[in-house]
Amino acid sequence: MSKVARAIGSGSKILNPGNPWTRVEYLIFELADEDIRANLDAMAKLDLAFLVRTLHDVATGLAQLHQAQIAHQDLKPSNVLVYKREATSKICDLGRAWDMNAAGPHDNEAIAGDRQYAPIEQLYGEKSTDHRVRRFGCDMYHLGSLAVFLFGKTHMNSLLIDKLAPQHRPGFWGSGYCAVLPFVQAAFDLSLEEFAQSVPELARNDLRVAVSQLCEPDPVRRGHPLNRRTRQFSFERYISLFDRLARKAELRLLMKTA
């Protein structure tokens, strides 16, 4: 679990000594420098190598969790921590995670993580009975949406909703996800185009295709098409892609500085 923030201690504390109900359980994680958002603000200009490397690290972290049959379900910018000394990023906050081998407190919730970042189908109240689609598909969507945030400073959900007619948005539509899906897909097509505009040309096409697969609004079709029959929600292809793109960008950076 090299790309998942490690808990190094735990404990509990009563905040108000007179009141036993104010007891708080806590976990201590290895110290990170900052979350990814602070790091983005510190960048003088868009650093493609860093951004794609971050995506690579996060995809690796999610793959490591999935390997252990755990779905994170709450990946968002504030849950990506930057460790400068190790020159890496890690995912943190497994408070909403789903473990295939152990029951968790949020397992029965329609949306396990923060609603604002939930996969678009979950915003419409869609709840797949297939745990792979619901749990691992959620992580996949979050990874794509993180890519949108890193480059465009917005989320896939807001891009999508912005392009939907008001009556087709999640807060209004109450006729089931299947009936609204074609409209969402039409909005998704335009959102991909918009996302692509924020990506440097070196990685534009690759990232557009990757995000189109990661955030596909139809959760049953989410993921790499070649993985659809088996290991639909595998991150391996994306890890390779992000690694290749990061190397390309790093090489270009080296050549420029040389």
Binding site: D114, L159, D162, A165, R169, P170, G174, Q185, D189, L190
Partner: protein, 511 residues
């Protein structure tokens, strides 16, 4: 020359671009979500982050997340959105979302869903739009709405096979979707494949649940000459009123037509009135047709509606002899249904009655792109061209129908137009023979209005030619015009008067 009003109009589904369908409320959800799906408390963590770490990325994160759950109006989010807009480093996408939260950009753009997916209308460069759509589908192909719009664009150009292919993909991707299913059915109706048009609706997984699809199924079954197996179901749905009146409008209108055809005028009237309480565009057009053709008058039709029907407006203005308004409405009707022959037919006729031959030609060129075999459109185009002095082109168009069997009305029109072209080519005798033949044919087929119209045009041509026969023929023409029903009588008398004024002003036209 007017082909009679559709004698058997059914509420077959309209096929419009998705933008237009949205405007006409055909894509609204059957059920609305409870308003408490999302709440302000969902923003607490983000607002806490903003207090601790007030940077651009946190601001963008907060604004974007709030917008996703429809909480862009939250006071603190608005403050953060202003911060985003002030920061020059914010990306265009982040700035737009911040603007949306602040209400700086209207929702009108969003209501258009996908402006770039629109076909551009019949007067736009449809070929360029098709190119763009195909390019987008190459990048992301799971887009049944765009496939449907592509099929519409192909149909508008008359590319049937390509349209069918695009529609098949859309259907495979969204077999139960209201917009796709209704569009597909309309496409195959346009192609004359009525069985298939009906099967698509009847087999749709949503046919019994969605009153819009159910209405289309019943209407297309009627076109097919069959009675739908879902009539009882439709009655129950209307009686139950579990859906809003707007969603029931087309279904009530369809059932009104079924009842009217069965001779139950009372039931038809009640259903028609129901269909107009919160009407769909097609229901308004159908109510106007029921009034014209079946004498079923519903008072609500005369009252202002939430939306208007260009088809109904065109007919209504025509009946009031306001030809300019009628032709504009018909033009808009064609803009919505560019592939349909009906707006092209009626619209071109209205332009011809106003002596606007260029306007008629424009509307006909669009209509003929996907209705090349329609003899009335060919006839009207030949007439419009000949009136502009383009006789060779007019003859070429007319020749397309020379060896074809056509219905009596277009046959009369085509023959009379041949007479007209001969007059304009100074072949007076030949022109007279054609006009005579047209009138005889109309008489034989029991079409007195067609015969009368031919007489009016013949008289005008004799007058224009200042021939020896013109006093007799003008007199006959005037009588013929008087015999026409309103509003045609007044329109044709005015046409005669215009011709007489022109002849008096330009005596040099005499041969």
């Amino acid at each position: 020359m007017l082909k009679n009003d559709d004698p058997d109009r059914q509420v077959v589904p309209r096929w419009r671009s998705v933008e237009s369908a949205l405007k006409f409320r055909e894509l609204a959800p059957l059920a609305q979500r409870p308003s408490d799906a999302f709440s302000d408390s969902m923003l607490d963590d983000l607002l806490e982050d903003w207090k601790r770490q007030p940077g651009l990325s946190v601001a963008c994160d907060a604004v974007s997340a709030a917008f996703s759950i429809g909480r862009g109006q939250h006071a603190q989010i608005q403050e953060i959105a202003r911060f985003v807009l002030k920061d020059g480093r914010a990306t265009p996408a982040a700035r737009r979302i911040a603007s949306r939260c602040l209400g700086i950009e209207t929702e009108a753009e969003a209501a258009g869903l996908s402006a770039s997916a629109a076909i551009g209308g019949p007067f736009g460069d449809i070929r360029a739009t098709i190119g763009k759509m195909r390019e987008r589908l190459r990048v992301y192909h799971l887009n049944p709405i765009l496939w449907t719009n592509l099929a519409l664009a192909y149909t508008t150009l008359g590319a049937r096979e390509k349209a069918s292919r695009a529609m098949r993909v859309a259907l495979a991707q969204a077999p139960g979707h209201r917009f796709v299913v209704r569009a597909a059915s309309r496409l195959f109706l346009h192609h004359g494949d009525i069985d298939r048009a009906h099967a698509i609706l009847a087999r749709s997984p949503s046919v019994e649940a969605d009153p819009w699809i159910l209405a289309s199924e019943i209407a297309v079954a009627a076109v097919r000459g069959r009675s739908s197996r879902l009539l009882a179901k439709a009655k129950r749905i209307i009686e139950a009123r579990n859906h809003s009146l707007m969603h029931l409008s087309e279904l009530a209108s369809t059932m009104a037509t079924i009842e009217a055809d069965a001779g139950s005028a009372g039931k038809a009237k009640k259903l028609c009135a129901l269909s107009l309480q919160d009407p769909a565009e097609n229901a308004i057009a159908q109510a106007a047709w029921l009034e014209r053709q079946k004498g079923i008058y519903v008072r609500a039709l005369a009252q202002p509606q939430v939306i208007s029907s260009n088809e109904a407006e065109a007919w209504s203005e025509f009946q009031s002899a306001r030809l300019e308004r009628a032709s504009e409405a018909a033009k808009n009707w064609q803009f919505e249904q560019p592939f349909s022959s009906r707006p092209a037919n009626f619209g071109s006729y209205l332009f011809l009655l106003r002596d606007d031959f260029r306007g008629a030609e424009q509307i006909l060129r669009i209509g003929r792109a996907s209705n090349r075999d329609d003899p009335m459109l060919g006839n009207n185009l030949a007439f419009a061209l000949a009136n502009q002095g383009r006789l060779e082109e007019a003859l070429t168009v007319l020749a397309e129908f020379s060896n074809r069997t056509v219905d009596p009305i277009p046959a009369v029109c085509l023959t009379a137009t041949a007479g007209f072209i001969n007059f304009r080519a100074s072949n007076l005798e030949s022109g007279r023979r054609f006009y005579q033949r047209a009138i005889e044919l109309a008489d034989r087929c029991g079409l007195p209005p067609s015969a009368a119209m031919a007489k009016v045009h013949w008289g005008i041509e004799e007058l224009r030619a200042q021939s020896n026969e013109f006093p007799t023929k003008i007199s006959e023409a005037r009588e013929a015009a008087k015999s026409l029903p309103a509003p045609l009588s007044g329109i044709y008398l005015a046409m005669l008067a215009r011709a007489e004024t022109a002849a008096a002003a330009k005596p040099h036209l005499a041969l």
